[in-house]
């Protein structure tokens, strides 16, 4: 039940998928609010939340990748055209790359800005780069560009899942839902 099979996702993969999805959705308003807020203790707290959730996403995505390597990946539905298979492969690869690159570039921004942060007010985050104004600017631009790319790929991902469910009537969406029984 916990592990994946060739037919469906196990509970661990399902929960990680939805948890990361929820955290990414939380990150968007948190990040935008933190940037827009006037300089105040509230602004700093919003940034602590954004950085904390971002690092949590990084850990969870690494866990997902690790879990993927020791579990079978459910097969794509039979009869999918070649371009769809390539698009599915490519967009999932993009999702993983972006889910890693966004927290990492955020970490670089924080290090370059040289602002100490304790994740969830508990765990001090070490710096991965030295301080630097130029590096901070470049990593900030990259972070925003990656966010726009992630938003695009997520919309594609959701659209594709809904298309599989409503138009192609297969179990691609259903097998990611924890409350549906995987086929035996």
């Amino acid at each position: 039940m916990l592990r994946n099979s060739r037919e469906g996702w196990g509970l661990v993969s399902q929960l990680l998928h939805w948890l990361v999805a929820l955290l990414i959705l939380t990150q968007i308003p948190l990040g935008l609010a933190a940037v827009a807020w006037h300089l105040s203790p509230t602004k700093l707290s919003l940034f602590v939340w954004h950085k904390s959730v971002g690092m949590l996403v990084l850990v969870l995505v690494l866990w997902r990748l690790g879990w993927r390597t020791v579990n079978p990946t459910p097969a794509l539905p039979q009869g999918m055209p070649r371009w769809e298979r390539l698009a599915a492969r490519g967009s999932h690869l993009m999702l993983y790359v972006l889910m890693l690159a966004l927290p990492v570039t955020g970490w670089v921004i924080n290090s370059a800005a040289n602002i100490p942060v304790k994740l969830f007010w508990l765990i001090p985050l070490p710096d991965i780069t030295g301080p630097g104004k130029r590096l901070q600017e470049v990593s900030t631009t990259t972070h925003v560009a990656l966010f726009i790319a992630l938003a695009g790929v997520v919309v594609l991902h959701m659209g594709a899942a809904l298309r599989h469910h409503y138009l192609k009537h297969n179990d691609v969406l259903r097998r990611m839902l924890p409350w549906t029984k995987p086929p035996r």
């Binding site: 203790p41 509230t42 800005a113 602002i115 100490p116 301080p131």
Partner: protein, 193 residues
């Protein structure tokens, strides 16, 4: 040469000050070596210390460790030279809620009295003028003197809100602590008599 009565009366003008000078001892004048002297401050953000440096400051000192009371210490600080090694923090602390460097570019400590605390340790009491606020503070320092040079080291805690540094939402100290440690390592050269 005959001594005229007027000159006889004038002898004390030369002798008395000379006598006083020899009893009191000449307090040496010292100037700061700007290359090696450091003035730092430590701020705690969410319990994490962040060290800042005041890159431009000057120390003028008249001081003889055997006669500290005749000494005088004056430190002038370019508040605008505050550097916390972060572009974001540096721009934030220059704002009106913090240091307001546009209106108050300079901070000054001017001593009224220097006293001996213990061996090689002294206290300079005087007035700190910072962000338009004047407060009496005590600056303890250790004195190490060599051949024509000396070092003055020490640290003290200031409550930032006394000087209206970090106003409004920042004034409760929950995010950024009220206590700011100031520490200095000042290298001095004796001005030849």
């Amino acid at each position: 040469m005959d001594k005229t009565p007027s000159m006889k009366k004038l002898w004390f003008l030369a002798v008395v000050p000379a006598l006083c000078w020899s009893i009191r001892g000449p307090a040496a004048e010292w100037v700061m070596d700007k290359e090696t002297s450091r003035l730092e401050f430590v701020v705690h953000y969410e319990g994490t210390p962040i060290v800042g440096e005041l890159r431009q400051f000057d120390t003028r000192l008249r001081f003889d460790p055997r006669h500290p009371r005749q000494g005088h210490l004056r430190v002038t600080v370019s508040v605008a030279s505050a550097d916390m090694n972060s572009a974001d923090i540096n721009s934030a602390i220059r704002g009106t809620a913090w240091l307001d460097v546009a209106q108050f570019p300079r901070g000054v400590f001017d001593s009224d009295r220097i006293t001996r605390d213990k061996r090689n340790a002294y206290i300079a009491r005087g007035t700190l003028s910072l962000k338009g606020v004047e407060r009496a503070i005590a600056v303890p320092f250790a004195w190490q003197e060599g051949d024509g040079s000396a070092t003055m080291t020490g640290h003290l805690d200031l409550e930032r809100t006394v000087f209206r540094i970090g106003t409004g939402e920042w004034s409760d100290g929950s995010t950024i602590a009220l206590e700011v440690e100031v520490r200095f390592d000042v290298h001095l050269k004796r001005v030849p008599d």
